[in-house]
């Protein structure tokens, strides 16, 4: 191991920023679970649908009927335990597993920020985030002044990847030179107070938003990293995320990112927060004598550093897997998910399935509403892997109904970023015979246009 890397890994820093991050992350996730339940989404997204779209390889992950509620309770409670720093290691493992299970149940609800939360939870399993400001300190009568610096840096790196890769993804001709999809989305916000009917439909404003969004994403990790620009950067973070929250229905994501960005601040800032919280609970905690050790030491340091290293190599490489596919990424979406491609496309489709008797040629069309919720139908209509999985479901369904020689064809039209809709799937291909895999899908028709860039 080179000296510099070794000395970096041994470098210590104050534990306060990570402890504050852990607490805020836990509370937000707990609130997120309650909010999800409150909106009735457990029912509408996981209980009501007859059929769920699975991730390739995770077909065994399904909603658990009414026990799905229990899953959300477990997830919310473990997040609360994370916030308190109570049995932290166990709590964050349970949170990671339950949250990830929830996200894997149906890919209809895929969101980049859910993926971000899963990754962050995984990372946090290996971090001593309960070194301070935790109930564990009270139970073990032990706290730690310092922790390895790489632990805090790894959180910053993950945040930095999310922003920077989201910025890289914006380096394409639709975003920069056609102001798409903001050109579609912004004018539809005409009913916002003040700016709705003055700015939103202006072409210059749409371009300004596109370009500044791209610059923001690319620059913000670096601006947060350097002390001299940090204050300014945080103001930008707040403005940017509030603005996106006002414009788009993106739930808690903006607040998660705003709060997460606090980890870039110096320990002195976080110490003040800890002091503030400790003052509140002073009467309760002062009776317990806590010994503060100078530094947290990993028991399995080498394997953990290796795991974290591999994790980041994977994170850096995985979003570029789309390069292995021949066709336009936005059109085929092969390698689109799990790559920080956020708000890049306005894509809509309509897919009508045709069940054919292969022998007689008799056919009929399927009413998607008989099998899918409107939300599932919307998401299915323009995503090839959804279309394939649904075609198999229909094929199995009608075969079990007694139909013979079932073939499943789809007539699908998709419009991308304000272009006229065009045929999407080869309607002469029997999708019931096609298998899901990571290989390019030959039955996706070519895109009639060119989107240049990353």
């Amino acid at each position: 191991m080179p000296i510099t890397l070794r000395s970096y890994i041994n470098r210590k820093t104050n534990a306060a920023p990570l402890a504050v991050f852990r607490m805020l992350f836990g509370f937000m996730m707990c609130y997120g679970m309650i909010r999800f339940w409150y909106h009735g989404w457990i029912e509408t997204l996981y209980i009501q649908p007859k059929f769920h779209f699975s991730y390739y390889g995770f077909e065994w992950v399904k909603p658990l009927g009414n026990y799905t509620y229990l899953l959300f309770v477990i997830c919310g409670l473990s997040a609360f335990f994370v916030a308190l720093g109570l049995k932290y290691r166990m709590a964050i493992i349970i949170f990671f597993l339950s949250f990830t299970y929830i996200e894997l149940m149906d890919k209809t609800t895929y969101l980049n920020h859910y993926y971000f939360i899963s990754l962050m939870a995984f990372l946090m399993i290996f971090l001593p985030a309960n070194a301070q400001l935790s109930v564990d300190n009270l139970l073990r009568k032990k706290a730690y002044q310092n922790i390895p610096q790489w632990t805090i840096d790894s959180v910053k790196l993950l945040l930095g990847i999310v922003y920077f890769y989201a910025g890289l993804a914006k380096l394409n001709s639709d975003w920069l030179f056609r102001a798409m999809p903001l050109k579609i989305w912004l004018p539809s916000k005409y009913d916002l107070p003040l700016i709705g009917d003055t700015l939103m439909h202006q072409t210059w404003f749409q371009y300004a938003m596109s370009w500044s969004g791209m610059l923001y994403d690319l620059a913000i990790p670096f601006l947060l990293l350097y002390k001299r620009t940090r204050g300014f950067a945080f103001v930008l973070v707040v403005i940017f995320h509030v603005f996106t929250r006002v414009l788009f229905p993106i739930g808690m994501f903006p607040f998660v990112m705003i709060v997460s960005a606090l980890i870039f601040f110096d320990a002195s800032f976080h110490k003040k927060i800890i002091r503030f919280i400790k003052d509140i609970f002073q009467g309760f905690t002062s009776k317990i004598a806590i010994r503060t050790e100078p530094c947290y030491r990993y028991t399995f340091k080498k394997p953990i550093v290796l795991i974290i290293g591999l994790f980041f190599v994977f994170q850096l490489a995985f979003p570029f897997r789309y390069l292995l596919y021949p066709n336009e990424l936005f059109w085929t979406e092969e390698g689109y998910r799990f790559s920080w491609r956020v708000m890049l496309m306005e894509k809509m489709g309509m897919s009508t399935f045709k069940i054919v008797n292969g022998k007689t040629g008799d056919f009929f069309y399927v009413d998607n509403a008989d099998f899918l919720t409107p939300f599932q139908e919307k998401q299915m209509s323009f995503q090839p892997d959804f279309i394939l999985e649904y075609a198999h479901y229909l094929g199995d369904h009608f075969t079990s109904q007694g139909h013979k020689n079932v073939q499943v064809f789809v007539e699908s039209y998709v419009a991308l970023n304000g272009r006229l809709s065009q045929p999407y799937i080869d309607k002469t291909v029997d999708l019931y015979q096609e298998k899901e895999s990571f290989k390019p899908k030959h039955w996706i028709l070519p895109f009639n246009d060119d989107i240049k860039g990353l």
């Binding site: 989404w41 969101l111 009913d191 006002v246 994501f253 306005e346 809509m348 008799d362 304000g418």
Partner: protein, 367 residues
């Protein structure tokens, strides 16, 4: 340097602003600047298309009622002919109304009480035999409205002489009478709601929310075109949704010769609404078309105009009676379906994407 207090203060300001802006109501600002005035679009819809169409339907149904009264008073061939003529006239006007399933029409399930076909002969006859029925009950949706009257005027007996004869039975005259009275009464209720109060509510709801009139109307319009026009009139009888064609499911099954004329009227009515053409005059105003043009989507408008033309040509090639068409040469029916389907794609995918309508059915976070 950043202090904790400043950060907390910033977060409070942020959450207040977010809270305020997300609670904005359906009502749009009335003083639009140079951007597109969606209020004008709704005003044009309400004042020049929806209300005049309802008024015309109500007038037409009143004369249907008068002809029915004359027929009931003295059932003979001449009165039957007059009654059939005014039934057709009303049915044609109905084609301009069915797509306006919003407001009172939606809450009354007006459309289901006016034009569910095929009508159930069994239920019609059962109602007539029993003499007691609730015409508004959902179970009776397929025993009321234009299709039930279609049966009573054209299909209740083998030929005209026999049909006239049927109406010597008071039970039959009563049911026919009740049906037509009910259709007119319902229409008047919906019309009065528009003219007395709903019109102002409708034109004020220009917001882009799931429940605003603009969004609901747009979704309803597209839904009507897909379901009421494409599927019900053409697709279902042609067997697009079943293993075999179902020719007895055509609109105007008993009168035989009107299914094409009704379908063409429906297509014209949809296109007129798209173009913003007034119901009663040739004046045009703000419409989906002008909205698309404002959004720089001339390409889509051109495409839609071409497809409307193509669909009209395909419909014109069909037999006056779709039943005959399906049973003799169903390919022409499926071709007409395909032409209508192209319009559905353009409306549902391209137009809704261009408007970026907040849809009422998707309730979850986005990215």
């Amino acid at each position: 340097m950043f202090t904790l207090r400043k950060v907390v203060l910033a977060l409070i300001v942020v959450s207040l602003y977010t809270a305020c802006s997300s609670s904005s109501s359906d009502d749009g600002s009335s003083e639009n600047k140079d951007s597109y005035d969606r209020g004008d679009l709704l005003v044009n819809l309400a004042d020049n298309m929806i209300i005049p169409a309802y008024q015309d339907l109500n007038t037409s149904l009143k004369s249907l009622k008068a002809d029915k009264d004359a027929f009931v008073a003295s059932p003979d061939q001449a009165h039957l002919d007059a009654l059939r003529t005014s039934w057709l006239a009303s049915y044609k006007v109905w084609q301009s109304v069915e797509m306006f399933n919003i407001g009172k029409a939606e809450s009354l399930l007006y459309g289901f009480q006016m034009n569910v076909y095929p009508t159930s002969v069994q239920e019609v006859e059962a109602n007539i035999a029993s003499g007691s029925y609730d015409l508004t009950h959902p179970n009776n949706n397929d025993a009321v409205g234009f299709p039930a009257v279609d049966y009573l005027l054209f299909g209740v007996a083998a030929d005209d002489v026999a049909i006239v004869n049927v109406y010597n039975d008071a039970k039959y005259t009563k049911y026919l009478s009740d049906l037509i009275d009910q259709m007119q009464a319902l229409t008047e209720t919906v019309l009065n709601d528009w003219t007395s109060s709903y019109r102002d509510v409708f034109v004020s709801e220009t917001g882009n929310t799931a429940t605003s009139a603009l969004n609901k109307f747009t979704n309803d319009y597209v839904f009507y075109f897909e379901k009421g026009l494409r599927a019900n009139k053409i697709g279902i009888p042609a067997g697009n949704f079943s293993s075999t064609p179902l020719p007895e499911k055509v609109e105007g099954f008993y009168s035989k010769v009107y299914s094409k004329i009704l379908a063409l009227d429906a297509l014209n009515a949809s296109q007129n609404v798209f173009n913003g053409k007034a119901y009663a005059t040739s004046a045009t105003g703000e419409s989906f078309k002008t909205y698309l043009l404002f959004l720089d989507r001339q390409d889509l408008v051109t495409q839609l105009e071409t497809q409307f033309e193509e669909a009209r040509e395909k419909l014109n090639m069909l037999n006056d009676d779709f039943y005959t068409q399906v049973t003799t040469d169903n390919t022409k029916m499926t071709e007409a379906y395909d032409a209508l389907q192209k319009i559905v794609v353009l409306l549902k995918v391209d137009m809704l994407q261009a408007f970026n309508i907040s849809v009422d059915y998707v309730d979850a976070d986005g990215d």
